[in-house]
Amino acid sequence: MSKKSLWWALLSVSLLLVGASTTNAVEYGELVQKDGQWVFKNTEDPVFKYMRDTGRISNERYFQISEQTGKNWIEPADAILNRRRDIEWNRYLKTALHLPDWIDLGLENRTRFESYDHPWRAAQKIGNGATDFQIPMRSRLRVGLGGNGPLRFLFEGQDSRSFDNGKPGDFRDLTMINEFDVLQLFGAVKLDNVLSTGLRTDLLFGRFTLDLGNRRLVARNDFRNTTNAFDGFLWQLSQPNAWRLKAFVTETVQRDDVSLDTENNKSLFWGAYFESQQFRWFNLDAYYLGLNDRRVATVTSHRTYNTFGGRLFKEAKPGEVDYEIETAWQIGHRGVTKHFAHFQHLDIGYMFNLPWTPRLLFHFDYVSGDHKPGDSQDEGFDTLFGARNFEYMITSMWGPFYRTNLITPGWRLILAPSPSWILEVKHRVWYLAQNKDVFGSSGLRDPTGNSGGSLGHDMQLRARWAVNKNLDFDVGYIHWFKGSYFDSPAILAQMPTGGNKDSDYFYAQMRVRI
């Protein structure tokens, strides 16, 4: 056979193989109107469909897996602790390995590139205002046993590391690095319909992560590369879709960048959190959180706080006003100093009933700072284990603003061009609540207060594209117009060279979950 004939033959075989492939001719989806035309939109998961079409899973298994969404989702034990979107995604690996439904297996990796210039932190003396960048990477593995219960077990491991940030002056600490560690490891008991009352109760024992309310005071860190965890008990009682009460007693987990994390009996954290969804316009949270932290030898740093708070809110809906009010009051002691601090938050938003459903949101936060450092009273609010990214600004190596000693009004515009896209513009203005107190965790302070409290303002642009629940991209840019506070001689002396100039931050990240 000539060379040409051989090519023809190969082409023919390949065409025949394509033609004879066992593609399944049944598609499932919905009919939707797009630009005045009716279009069939396939709603099948392409990976599961591929597994079925190539015979890797049976039709029966394909339909079983496809149905495991919404109310049929197999709930892992940490569903009562953490946001559903953090733990619910299609388990491709588990399906490919033909594991039964009572086993959960999931792998996640997030890799980010981020960069910023003109560092301002007192600890970053070296750097000379040059652009600094790093590549943080976070990987998680979760293994659960027990399916929907009543007895369940969950292990979640996390590996957090960062590349290209080893130079002097780079940002590298326990918020970035925590190699090969146990993030969650607990057993749980779940009882539905307790004593035929329709109530559900859960009891957990072990190490767990935790989100409470809107995550301002206790959060499973999302954007940060490492994650807070707690060792202890948690009990929940709930009337599904109506109300729930959580109570917990824990020792906080101390992260170690290379060795295994350990709990510390000198850092106790306990509390109770009640949430009610009985009235759509008045969703209500009420909470008490206790902290007794005596880890360090310096007695003046010991924290014994009781935090009481409440939250009232309405979820955003097209064509409706929404709002959120949160108030938290903190009493106790910081060392031998009396502690009394508070935090007030207000959001008012409106979602327009227009294409891209634009939502305009106005924020205002007042967070108390220490009125007179060195006296017998401390008024600096402690944000405990809270998250900041979702309403202040991106954290990770950036994140200058902490929920302490701040007055900050701002606005945000959120657009959703399609269900998988979110575009966001944010602008906030920043002032110190007390000029003599420290600025966030920067280490900067002017004890005279002569530097004023104008920290400037920032613009943030962010775009998120969730291809599906298993793959998403996130990119953002921030320009921080620094205020007059940074130009004062007392503050200039504490910062790296160029720290008073405006800073730019950029990041791009990808997350894969299988």
């Binding site: 004939s5 033609g19 004879a20 001719a25 049944v26 009919l31 009716w38 069939f40 079983q64 329709g198």
Partner: protein, 251 residues
């Protein structure tokens, strides 16, 4: 030699190209309660005929309004008889093509293995809440109401009745434990996820009007050979066996 090879090649490619030409595509709207058996029927149909199926699953009411608004479905499997009849009267369905493909069976079901012991369970009122689908919009809810009326229990049970928008939500009330028992479709109880669990009473069919589910060939599909083939397939033994396996009765 070269010519023979080329001829062979052309024949092979032509046959590969021609084969899909016989396969037509049919766009089907299927009521949510009938989706589990229809999945099996779709595989059998596709294997037997080579035609392609595009399946949309949802509520019959939603499909009815979509079809009225010009949605290009070829075939509509409704959860009731009324909507296919309306479509036929309105000229959107092919006259004479309507067919009762399944008759639903009503059951009283509880996840509690000791609770349901026949109609005496209803008479004892030894439960806090009883779930039914809304009789005004859901055929299974209407059948549940008729059953209780026939047993002279409808008025007496009013304080304990909780209504779901549809039969899916009604099942959700019971599965979540918020309601101890309720009237649902036998096909739901035979779902592999809960088959064999709890206790049930298969309501005798003489206690309510038949829950007939009709399929209709829509005018959009009247010239589509695949749509016609699907209508024929539904009357055949393979489809009937699957439908019965899922707890439906046949005419």
């Amino acid at each position: 030699m070269k010519q023979r090879f080329l001829a062979w090649y052309v024949c092979v490619i032509a046959s590969a190209a021609v084969t899909p030409a016989f396969a037509e595509q049919v766009l089907v709207a299927v009521a949510a309660n009938f989706v589990p058996p229809f999945r099996e029927i779709a595989i059998e149909f596709e294997t037997a005929t080579g035609h392609n199926l595009r399946v949309a699953a949802g509520s019959s009411g939603n499909f009815y309004s979509q079809i009225k608004n010009g949605a290009p479905f070829d075939v509509f499997f409704s959860a009731d008889m009324e909507r296919p009849k309306l479509l036929e009267d309105e000229g959107l369905g092919v006259k004479g093509s309507r067919l009762t493909y399944a008759i639903g069976r009503l059951v009283l079901w509880s996840p509690n293995a000791d609770l349901v012991k026949g109609e005496e369970t209803l008479r004892s009122k030894n439960f806090k809440r009883l779930a039914i689908a809304n009789p005004k919009t859901a055929p299974y809810g209407l059948a549940a109401m008729q059953t209780m009326q026939k047993l002279d229990l409808w008025e007496g049970l009013q304080p304990q009745i909780v209504m779901g928008e549809n039969i899916g939500q009604t099942m959700g009330f019971i599965e979540s434990g918020n309601v101890q028992l309720g009237f649902v479709a036998l096909s739901q109880v035979l779902d592999p996820k809960i088959k064999g669990q709890g206790s049930r009473w298969d309501v005798p069919t003489n206690l309510h009007e038949p829950i007939k589910q009709d399929v209709i060939l829509l005018t959009k599909g009247k010239d589509n050979p695949a749509a016609k083939a699907l209508m024929e397939f539904m009357g055949g033994p393979q489809a009937k066996a699957i439908i019965e396996h899922y707890g439906y009765e046949l005419k």
